[in-house]
Amino acid sequence: MASLKEQMWDPVAGFGVTFRTMFKKVVTEQYPFDKKPTAPRFHGRHQLNRWPDGLEKCIGCELCAWACPADAIYVQGASNTEDERFSPGERYGSVYQINYLRCILCGLCIEACPTRALTMTNEYELADDNREDLIYEKNDLLAPLLPGMSQPPHPMLLGEEERDYYDGTAARRATAQAVDNLKEERT
């Protein structure tokens, strides 16, 4: 025969957890309807960045492909010419592919990139129903053209030589131009 405590108290104590939970805040995230932002440095889809005048930062050096532990990146470099310039300096990445079915989003490619051309966004909704569409080409990865940028190929607009881009002169000129444009708009 069970004791009085076992008969009377134990069922109440067991349901006490259930009862207390009724007054707690619901933890469920309503994901597709209410998207919570990720952590700011979340490793999501990659992005190929641009200089403020629209030229690509990627120089086709393949260091990202060499750093990749999963062999997910394929880069093919080509030479810039005076008529067709995609990036400041000699070389640019003519083919740039990332296979998201291999990429483990570890970020070693970002660490390897010498020009900060490759960074990661917070975008993570990548699922697709075939393998081909999950190989992202250069035009899928390139950053969108912001105001003041123009679509390459075009000559270097923010400096006379590539040195100006890498020592910060180009960035200062771009900022000055943007400030001038703002002033003109306001007057």
Partner: protein
């Protein structure tokens, strides 16, 4: 023209395919095929925080006969491949496969002799989900993308024609094992 205009207001018409698709997508029962770290994220998706129960799939079936969605979560070794195929064969039609994570989708960083380079070498995959491991939101996103496919799935003779068409396309395509470069 048709029956729609003669009906009183408040009555909704649909096709049999539409209704069947709606019911199918709203009560998917996933089979557990957790093989590695992705399985932890898959379990989290079923838990209270992300709660796939909101989409009618909170119950993970351990038996393939009661399941209609196989979530392959994790790397599949060559020794596991026949088991995976048998579980798939035991599932009743209609059935779907979701390759969760890069290892299940293409082998991921494990490009070696022991790991199957993608479960699409042994079973037909309906949805590939990148990420290592994918966060639960990514899994829910993939499941919802699969839901839209299930919703528009065909029935009867349309389905037979669709299967025939897919079969012809699959016969014409290069086998995954013969592909080179990033597609391998």
């Amino acid at each position: 023209m048709g029956i729609e205009e003669k009906l009183p207001s408040g009555i909704l018409l649909s096709s049999v395919e539409g209704v069947a698709g709606y019911f199918r997508k709203a009560s998917m029962w996933p089979a557990t095929f957790g093989l590695a770290c992705c399985a932890i994220e898959m379990m989290t998706s079923g838990g209270p925080r992300y709660d796939t129960g909101r989409f009618g799939m909170e119950v993970f079936r351990a038996s393939p006969r009661q399941a209609d969605l196989m979530i392959v979560a994790g790397r599949v070794s060559n020794k596991m491949a026949p088991v995976l195929r048998q579980v798939y064969d035991q599932m009743a039609n209609p059935k779907w496969v979701l390759a969760m994570g890069v290892c299940a989708s293409s082998g991921g960083m494990f490009n070696n002799y022991a790991i199957l380079q993608g479960v699409d070498h042994v079973v037909p995959v309906d949805m590939y989900l990148p990420g290592c491991p994918p966060r639960p939101e990514m899994l829910i996103d993939a499941i919802l993308k699969l839901h839209t496919r299930v919703q528009t799935a065909k029935l009867g003779s349309h389905r037979v024609a669709e299967i025939e068409e897919q079969e012809q396309a699959a016969m014409a395509a290069t086998p995954t094992s013969q592909m080179k470069g990033l597609l391998r």
